[in-house]
Subunit: 228 residues, 2 copies
DNA sequence: CGCAGGCGTGAAGAAGGCGTGAAGACGCCC
DNA sequence: GGGCGTCTTCACGCCTTCTTCACGCCTGCG
């Protein structure tokens, strides 16, 4: 049973490693959010213990990025006790939220509970591939024929929304809310603009699409077949 | 979304009911562990909020009894903060453990997290299939002999109305209301036009129909046999 | 046998959405 | 403060889609 510990304080990492290994878990530790996302994709742990107070990245952002490609249980460890922090982390996709200092027995029990719930394996691919196009959801890196493609944050967000829902018809409103936020829903000109740059950068043709199909009046559809 | 609250204190029951109903949940409340187990079996709630300090039965026993027949998420509410209590409840099968007093926002967030996990079991949308014709309702994708068929929103809406009611006679008015909206009901020319394009795109013949039969003066009927 | 209504067929006008290209506004880093 | 990348907005021409109409056929009825 592999567990990934993401925490910037070495003594906490050490303490967690000791306790977890004593209970038969296999433990990997990293110190930054970025490493955490990469390790979640690479090492494929079955449980992640995530400290919210990381130096390099907001904790909810780490959760969101891991959730882009994995359903692995995430238990948040945090010194912050405010409800807003808890709500934000849980709604970002965390499974549980434990405030420091916590008892190791409680943490282990919550880990067991989280693992018990996730009985089945999830087949989600960390890096969906479509022919020459590869989308590394962990590193947020897109390559075409092996060449990295530079995308702005909005462009990447749109691509992620499309590529993680292959074949599905995604409405204007759904895409706008997912990429731009809850307050959006009618700004179809944004979509047209960014779909255009995406098509251009990914070498797609609107009149003979191989990746993104326009569903007039409704939305867009990612039609490329996953090939990895 | 049905929630069952098991708590012996009436004011807590009332407070939870108010908060939960304000957020769109359907709430049932009981005051004893025994009633809780019965209600969990009978009312089939999708989430249970369980107070540990019940007068008639030990909290972990309630959890165990419910777990004997249901995987419904259980969030424990308790005044006891000891690790031993938390471990016991979680290992008995609880999904989460919240100590009173708790913030309602946090409880709601934890409820969403618990529901999200359980609901994660892909709410399998049926994909009606009729020989070579396949209607993927989740993706809103129609394929004929494996080839995607492009339909306009109105065409798809009409097909969905027909294909999800196989064998049933659907009147002009019913179809118009469903596809075009409440304000319609007499525009049978619309129906004729779109039934025609549907037949053309799906390879059906009006004079020898295999999919859509005209019921003169009344409406239309989807006669294809579901085959999957 | 003639007629009327409903249906299938074909087509065309109109409205709105889309792709395209570009330019201004904004925020951020140096 | 300046420069750059990114986001937002606009105008234009084209194309899809919706809506409407006309015509011929069939059916049922008187």
């Amino acid at each position: 049973m592999k567990v990934l510990v993401v925490d910037d304080e070495p003594q906490i990492r050490r303490a967690l490693r000791t306790s977890l290994e004593a209970h038969g878990y296999e433990v990997a530790t990293v110190g930054t959010g970025d490493e955490g996302v990469v390790a979640a994709a690479g090492a494929r742990p079955e449980l992640i213990l995530l400290d919210l107070g990381l130096p390099d990245m907001d904790g909810t952002e780490v959760i969101r990025r891991i959730r882009a490609f994995s359903e692995v249980p995430i238990i948040v460890l945090s010194v912050r006790e405010s409800q807003a922090d808890k709500v934000a982390a849980l709604d970002a996709g965390a499974d549980d939220y434990v405030t420091k200092p916590f008892g190791i027995e409680e943490l282990l029990a919550r880990s067991r509970a989280a693992l018990r719930r996730r009985g089945g394996e999830e087949p989600t691919t960390p890096t969906p591939t479509f022919g020459a196009l590869q989308v590394d959801l962990a590193k947020q890196l897109v390559t075409l024929d092996g060449e990295p493609v530079h995308l702005t944050p909005t462009e990447y967000g749109l691509l992620e929304a499309l590529a993680t829902n292959p074949g599905k018809l995604l409405t204007h409103q759904w895409l706008l809310r997912r990429v731009w936020g809850q307050g959006y829903g009618t700004e179809t000109t944004y979509l047209r603009t960014y779909i255009r740059t995406l098509r251009k950068k990914l070498g797609d043709d609107a009149s003979a699409p191989a990746l993104i199909v326009t569903e007039p009046g409704v939305g867009y559809r990612w039609i490329a077949e996953p090939s990895g």
